[in-house]
């Protein structure tokens, strides 16, 4: 189980820089998930690791061995592509054994490696078929099998589940988790789907505009996002962001007023953050699941139901709370997103009281850096 080290990698195309000096290390056996919006450079970085892109500067090492300029086939990596990239004229077995064939391995060894991978992925009965005879899920399994057969140092996955339907995607998530546990291999996985990131990763690398925003365990990133980008990117529905202004500051405690909130909020600034000055514009962040039930000390905000999304055992409510609006969300029209872990019989237009626990607020400075995390509820 080798480690993978990305050292100040830069990738430029003429005048455009896709990756702006990125560094992180995947420890042996780790499942690293790189997430970020489209165009953030995550796929480019993955392709650079695979050797399909030549990096402009920096270094890529596997277990200390510099592979920056090595041929893709000599790097000890295997990649699973979004569109499977199975060779259409070869059978499943030939697809899976192709790398070993190219490496000049004996037929018996190839057959044994293919059989072993097929058993792990439960595709033994499809070995003689061609890709066009397989379903999407089966094709993706073969693509993974092709990677397993090579027994690489590092597995690379480029959005491998995005072509599958929702049910199959969640099934494959579980299977990939099982596969990682079974192979104990170092894996780097690129996705824009935060559910995949949260459920499968040992650590998540959040990328934005060619830079790493934060690296950490899924819950660490969810609970303690370093900035507003990470806070907004992880979590569904998206965190509610409310504009506020510092009206008083004393020691590490600040008082914030936000339009639409009837009372000021007092929050403690984290020890390692700079205390904002009075008059500074800040952003309050509130996760959808933290809206309370009207307990004492909570702020009651009258609202009206705008949209209800019933998900069965839980409900998402998008509420119009007058002047208390979330910004930074194009799709929500400023409505606050609230999550109820039960079925709720509400219809658009119904009145609703949102209870906000002031302790649940995140606070971000004018640059989006986090000033305060709410305590993690158990």
């Amino acid at each position: 189980m080798p480690s993978l080290q990305i050292d100040t990698v830069v990738k430029s195309y003429d005048s455009f820089t896709a990756i702006k000096g990125v560094s992180f290390t995947a420890e042996p056996g780790e499942f690293i998930v790189m997430v970020g919006p489209s165009g953030c450079g995550k796929s480019t970085l993955l392709r650079s690791i695979a050797g399909l892109e030549t990096i402009t500067s920096g270094a890529i090492r596997i277990d200390g061995r510099d592979i920056t300029h090595a041929e893709p086939s000599d790097r000890g990596v295997a990649m699973v592509f979004q569109n499977y990239a199975l060779y259409p004229h070869m059978t499943v077995a030939e697809n899976m054994g192709f790398a070993l064939k190219m490496a000049g391995r004996p037929k018996t060894e190839i057959a044994a490696a293919v059989a072993k991978a097929a058993k792990i992925l439960r595709i033994e009965e499809h070995l003689h078929k061609t890709p066009k005879q397989l379903s999407g899920g089966q094709k993706q399994r073969v693509a993974i099998g092709r990677a397993i057969t090579r027994a690489p140092d590092v597995f690379l996955f480029d959005e491998p589940l995005s072509n599958l339907d929702a049910a199959l995607r969640s099934q494959m998530r579980v299977e990939l988790g099982r596969l990682h546990a079974e192979l104990k291999a170092t894996m780097v996985y690129v996705t824009h789907d935060q559910t995949e990131a949260m459920t499968m990763a040992t650590r998540i690398v959040v990328m934005n505009a060619g830079l790493i925003e934060q690296v950490g365990s899924p819950l660490d990133l969810y609970n303690r996002p370093r900035n507003r980008f990470v806070a907004g990117f992880l979590g569904s529905p998206r965190m509610n962001f409310i504009k506020g202004r510092i009206v008083a500051a004393g020691g590490r405690t600040v008082t914030i007023m936000a339009e639409g909130l009837t009372m000021p909020i007092q929050l403690q600034i984290e020890p390692d953050a700079d205390v904002p000055a009075v008059g500074d514009v800040v952003t309050l962040g509130l996760r959808a699941e933290t809206f309370g039930t009207g307990a004492p000390g909570q702020i009651a905000v009258p609202a009206r139901v705008a949209v209800v999304e019933s998900l069965g055992r839980e409900t998402l409510i998008y509420a119009d709370a007058g002047n208390l609006r979330t910004f930074d969300s194009e799709s929500q029209d400023g409505y606050l997103a609230a999550h109820r872990s039960s079925q709720v019989m509400l219809r658009p237009g119904d009145p609703l009281t949102l209870s906000i626990d002031p302790a649940a607020f995140y606070l971000f400075d004018r640059n989006g850096e986090t000033l305060r995390f709410p305590p993690v509820s158990s």
Binding site: A50, G51, L52, S73, M79, F81
Partner: protein, 300 residues
């Protein structure tokens, strides 16, 4: 009940079938008139002895075919057709594939311009192409002679098209010049339908360069190559205009092909039955290749 359905208006399906039939009718009529009827006429005519103006058709059975078997010019013509078929398959499909690969991978700028230039001779009529090449190959004023001389070499004494040792090769060059663009476009379309990811997966699997060509490109354009080869084969079989205008089958039948020889027999020597028999042989060979192509592409 049966009476009711028979007398009543047509069912939607019946109407659809009628409509389909009606729409096929013009095409069927044209094919029958210009392809099927002449083919049947040629096959029937091949068993008779007659001239283009004669009213009396004399039945000779397989006589015309026997005559062909014993006619050395027929065999020369057939051999020349075979030469052009094999030669064209190599030069046109081979060169077309190489050009397509270069345009697909190697050329970044001016791709469309190169493609247009190479494709241009395809849209020019064979007669015009033939005249252009007659000028190029002219022993007195042609630029080829001048170029060869300027390189310190001696052009053929009898001329490029007059020397029996060279003339058929020159026809091969002209045919390649005219048709390579078509093959290139065909292969280029095939190449561009191969997903880029396949080459990336192959690179990771250790197949780059020639190995990628052998394991990814070639299987990916297999059907296109089969179709391209068949088109070339059929072109080599039915070649007429190019030979007729440039050499007329000469010198001394060195470039005689079945097309020109049939024409000679039919319209110059008045042996319509014999010409028909040769055409039927040509048809049989073309049908054989067509069947072969169908089989090969179904297998793929």
């Amino acid at each position: 009940m049966t009476d009711v359905t028979q007398q009543g208006p047509l069912s939607p399906r019946g109407r659809r079938d009628m409509l389909s039939g009606a729409m096929l009718l013009p095409a069927l009529a044209l094919v029958s008139l210009f392809i099927l009827a002449p083919a049947v006429y040629a096959i029937v005519g091949s068993f008779f002895e007659f001239t283009i103006t004669s009213r009396n058709w004399v039945f000779v059975g397989f006589g015309n075919y026997v005559r062909a078997a014993g006619d050395p010019v027929f065999w020369t013509a057939l051999r020349n057709n075979a030469f052009l078929i094999v030669g064209s398959a190599i030069t046109q499909v081979g060169l077309g594939t190489i050009l397509a690969a270069i345009l697909d991978r190697g050329v970044r700028r001016g791709n469309a311009i190169y493609r247009t230039i190479i494709f241009m001779p395809v849209v020019v009529s064979s007669i015009a192409v033939a005249f252009v090449w007659i000028l190029i190959l002219d022993p007195n004023v042609g630029p080829l002679n001048a170029i060869v001389k300027s390189l310190g070499m001696r052009p053929p004494k009898l001329g490029w098209l007059g020397d029996p040792q060279i003339s058929l090769w020159m026809l091969l060059v002209i045919a390649a010049w005219q048709n390579v663009g078509f093959q290139m476009i065909l292969v280029l379309a095939g190449l561009q339908s191969i997903p880029k990811e396949l080459y990336e997966a192959a690179a990771l699997d250790g197949a780059k360069g020639l190995r990628a060509f052998r394991y990814i490109t070639l299987p990916g354009i297999r059907n296109v190559l089969i179709v391209g080869t068949l088109i070339t084969v059929v072109g080599g079989l039915k070649v007429f205009d190019l030979v007729f205008v440039t050499t007329g089958g000469g010198p001394a039948n060195a470039t005689q092909v079945l097309g020109t020889y049939s024409y000679l027999q039919a319209f110059r020597l008045g042996n319509m039955g014999y010409a028909n028999a040769m055409s039927v042989v040509l048809l049989a060979i073309a049908v054989l290749f067509g069947w072969l192509q169908l089989r090969l592409s179904r297998k793929a």
